[in-house]
Symmetry: C2
DNA sequence: CTGAAAGCGCTTACAG
DNA sequence: CTGAAAGCGCTTACAG
């Protein structure tokens, strides 16, 4: 690999000059500049980012924390982030945290030292002191999809309203006995979605029924199991609200496995509008979360944070939720 | 961030000594060693990987090229890779190439200079001179899922046999008019799958029928469109073989949209056994490609390549395909 | 076994 | 506008 000295030699200038034309913020005579540019092109020279990084220049990389790429919902966001990063010359390091604090810590340990200029976090529970600590160090970071309150920049959906819209729609269609399959209530977004559920029911004068409320459910296997147990035990709801598409997918299958039709016997509604939603049978009615766009926004926000000198106050950007009506609700 | 000098000072030794105990391959007196370790622990010191990288030490990062994380099939492989990488202290940089040579080139340009120790490529078409060139430079790399012949290490499935098993199964179940929806024939793996299709038909004495063979089809939208057109034009196959699960998913929907039942009227078979396959309706019969395990294997192979001095001859590891029978074939 | 020195490939004050 | 020098934080021959 050719280095700056060899380029300097070929161009007949000093290494300093080469560096100056390449970094670009210090003026160089047009003629000299051209000679350097020619040599650079000729030798196909590219500065070593490690050396640049050592000098404090940007290494142009960001760390992305998500629970699991393998979850239906994250790839679209990841793609939005990566596309945006690439566009700005940044590289993205993927970290699967499985929502484990230990894993997060070990990634942070590993990446913190200048190998990365900032983080996008899609992983936060309410108690994340290690993340707040990073924030204290002025490490650029933005939360995506999930967030930790007002202290950190974030791009999130209006989760309460999304759930509200979903359940309100169910109510409007005449359903009253509405099951909610919710995620871990330690995660802010699930608390919000529950709040939306409750609000819609309250407005309709439908009392909360503990037997219809299921917490801390993850993914399709778990949601399927819960629904099967419920149905087998004789409970017979009008509709089931899965607070994520994976949960709704588990519901779809479990309901049919138990001999009921969707939506004729039981309506199902999801949350996410993942890529597969329209291809399910029946096509899933669900609340859209524009993952790709959210990824783009989060990444742009982060790069702005990294590249701007002064810190402005953190802002959490709340995007509107939108119900996508397909055929899984009667 | 504390650096090696400060640690040396606290431990009362030279920076050289600190470096020696940390890298570990040069002997240090037990007592000195302990002092250093104490200081390191005390100050929570971690060497700056940038500086280490500059000196030629491993930066411990790998670049992962896939067409698109958002495709159903890649996340599981990505996860296998990332888990393995993490276990070995490596970091993975995700690159979505969209099968574009230009994108690949720009990633290579960007990552080559020591920011990455090697590549995992899941992206190769048959003409990939830029990848072969990397290989020439002795850059460690391994192909995953797709490969480029014998010159490069690789972990792939026995694609021909997988397709053969699928179509043979169809034939055994009494189907004769079997449509194949195949991918881009420039991709080796799709040529192989086609070969398997042909072989199974030949063995059964069923002549190839051009009207049942569709090439260069990508993803569910395209496959759905093709199937709808075919069905509307009056062609009525016994079975449809989608050479990837996404294609099969498009088929499932299109067939039903056209008023036919799966599998009663038309059987459908896929390839991949993606996570969602069992949750489709009907659950999809498909050829399993153990993505996670393949990711693990590829990553281990790459790390071995990176960390071993001498190059051994490239080996392509071909894993056996396995048909997973569910309910989409009559 | 240990320290002082050189050097990895850059960038950026410091002179001129 | 340009060059020589120092320095980023390490590692590793070179002496001792």
């Amino acid at each position: 690999m050719v280095n700056i000295k060899e380029v300097a030699k070929q161009a007949g200038v000093s290494a300093s000059t080469v560096s100056r034309v390449l970094t670009g913020n210090i003026p160089v005579a047009a003629e000299t500049r051209q000679k350097v540019l020619d040599a650079v092109k000729d030798m196909n020279y590219q500065p070593n980012p490690l050396a640049q990084g050592l000098k404090g220049t940007r290494i142009k990389a960001i760390g992305l924390f998500i629970p699991n790429v393998r979850d239906l919902v994250f790839p679209a966001a990841v793609r939005g982030i990566e596309d945006t990063a690439k566009q700005h010359g940044y590289t993205v390091v993927l970290c699967n945290t499985d929502e484990s604090i230990e894993k997060e810590l070990s990634y942070i340990q590993n990446l913190r030292r200048r190998l990365i200029n900032g983080f996008i976090l899609s992983t936060a529970r309410s108690n994340s002191p290690h993340l707040l600590a990073l924030k204290e160090e002025k490490f650029p970071m933005v939360c995506l999809i999930r967030h930790l309150g007002e202290e950190l920049d974030a791009v999130v959906l209006d989760n309460r309203d999304g759930a509200y819209q979903a359940v309100k729609y169910l109510v409007q269609r005449g359903h009253r006995k509405i099951v909610i399959l919710n995620g871990n209530m330690e995660v802010y977004l699930y608390r919000e979605r529950f709040a939306g559920y409750r609000q819609a029911l309250e407005e309709a004068g439908i009392p909360l029924d503990k037997r219809l409320i299921f917490d801390n459910i993850n993914g399709w296997d778990e949601s399927g199991r819960v629904v099967r147990d419920m149905l087998n035990s004789g409970v017979r709801p009008d509709a089931i609200f899965g607070t994520s598409d994976p949960k709704a997918i588990g519901v779809l299958k479990a309901v049919k496995d138990c001999g009921f039709r969707v939506p004729d016997d039981i309506s199902v509604i999801g949350f996410d509008d993942s890529d597969i939603a329209a291809f399910l049978d029946p096509p899933l009615t669900t609340v859209a979360q524009p993952f790709y766009e959210m990824g783009v926004k989060a990444c742009e926000k982060l790069i702005r944070l990294i590249e701007s000198k002064r810190r402005s106050r953190p802002k959490v950007e709340v995007l509107p939720a939108r119900l996508v009506v397909r055929d899984s609700v009667r």
